[in-house]
Amino acid sequence: MSQQYPALLVVVPLLAALVICGAGWVNKRLCFPIAVAGLGVAAYSCIGLLLRVLDEGVIVYKLGGWDPPMGIAYYVDHLNGLVLVVVSVVALLNLIASKKSVAQEFPDKIGPFYALYVLMVTGLLGIVVTGDAFNLYVLLEIASLTGYGLLAMGEDRAPLAALNYLYMGTIGACFYLLGVGYLYIITGSLNMVDIARILPSLYQSKAVLGAFMICMVGVWLKMAFFPLHAWLPNAYTYASSAASSLIAPLVTKVMIYVMIRLILTVFTPEFAFNILAVSEPIVWLAVIAIVMGAILALGERNLKKMLTYIIIAEVGYMVGGAWLGNRVGMTGAILHIVNDALMTLCLFLVVGNIVHKVKGYAFEDLKGLFRKMPFTMCAFVVGALSIIGVPPTCGFFSKWYLISGAIQAGHYAFMVALLFSSLVNVVLFFRIIEIAFFEPFTDHHAHGHDHQPEPIDEAPLTMLVPLWIVAAALVIVGIYTGDIVNNIIQFAIPEGII
């Protein structure tokens, strides 16, 4: 059984999505348990795989028994083992947490929603596990197409925002496909390991440079790296809370993983950092991304949209960290994939709870929420502290690695940008905490002048418990950072990078 984990983690959710589609016609109540079962099996396989990788090293799984250069192979090493666990666990927790809000927001579309949800997770897991460059494109489009559908099921402005995302996302995926085409012309192979084996003698070729840059631009479009970020804020803000708390933590992080995989495995760090002289301008772009993300977030008077701009800044953290070209920076970038997925999930689940109870997420809706929803807001404080980077939470440690990497590389502008964005995050979150803690709750519908304390009106337990698990995970991951780095991430980075 454990031999088949790499196949199971893609096949089971894929079949579950099909079954949910059918079950939605029979009885809507069947959809949720099937989705939980499918993603549960996927999460179990992912965790099992990571444990096996820790034991045995890299696992190669040949689909259908065909040998790698001809057939498609799944490679699981420490890097994607870790990302697989994060993706599957985040998706499962969010699925459970958002059950009530899905039932509230679109009661007649439960079947299609869960089918798209599980299919999207299939695509994301497939992107992470595959070792074939073209296969990655197909799974990328599966994840994107379902993502457009999920994001469009939301407020009035959601379809237009999703359509704009579709235009940009298609350009991004097509660029990636074009880059893969260049690689195929040069090497005659689509297997990532095989390409990496053939490429070294061709590093001087202009076509390799073209392939690399085209792939990078495509991936940056998909992850909303700063000048290419315009689609993200609206698409994530106007989506339903269940969809945005799935997509916001995962899609950008999985695309960062793809970028790191391209750098580390396909093109090798030797080519990306030493032969090409592009790391300096890219880190500068990341600096601009971080600063602009922070400034744009300051201008928002709307919690959910503010969070989307914070995501853009965080993408800058990870791209910059990966391109610093040293071991500490790369460690920080990979660790930040884990941490940022958890932090973003935590904050978006809080938004989901607030929307569930208050029906709004503008700053005016947040007044007096500490009295009305104390448990949700405590989790919000933990998530906010983690994004700011306060020590016991995990956000501090990845930022620490990124800043040390910046100092080691001598790139002080990146360090200053990281510190600047942390300070801006302090302002952003304490502004919200102030509104929610000190300003009295005002109901738009009641016009009474009595100032009685608002009774506690919390979100249901099925939403609170996953939120608290995530909030606790932020602290636990922070405490065990050393173990994660020493046992997993250290082996994920090739020894060539010092």
Partner: protein, 130 residues
């Protein structure tokens, strides 16, 4: 100048795909109508599909089907057959392109039902009026 023309002619398939791609990109960026943008997106995707199909071609080669391939022992030369792999890949990419087109048109219908127009500037003015 003749050298330039000969380099362009020798790699004409790449020039065609680049031209098509730029037409598609232009339509997606500059057009105001949402459906025209979708058409541009389709042109963009088709350009890349054509690029892939063209790289499988070989001069003087035939379709990659071995007659009496089973049991015969004579050697086949790869040079005699065009490369089928890019074509097979593009079958998948065409499916993806069709699915993308379907999702895009469905979203456009939803937008139209909401605003009664597909012109982006009119939609934006309607949004501002709200």
């Amino acid at each position: 100048m003749p050298e330039l023309i000969s380099t362009i002619v020798a790699k004409y398939n790449y020039w065609i795909y680049i031209t098509l791609m730029m037409i598609g990109l232009y339509a997606m960026i500059a057009k105001n109508n949402l459906v025209k943008k979708i058409v541009g997106m389709s042109i963009f995707q088709t350009a890349i599909i054509l690029f892939y199909v063209s790289i499988g071609a070989k001069r003087g080669a035939t379709i990659p089907i071995l007659e009496h391939g089973h049991g015969s022992s004579h050697i086949t030369h790869a040079v005699d057959y065009i490369n089928p792999l890019p074509h097979v890949l593009m079958l998948t990419a065409i499916v993806v392109a069709v699915a993308t087109l379907g999702v895009a048109l469905a979203l456009a219908v939803k937008v139209y039902n909401q605003y009664n127009t597909l012109e982006e500037d009119e939609i934006l003015t309607q949004m501002r009026e709200k």
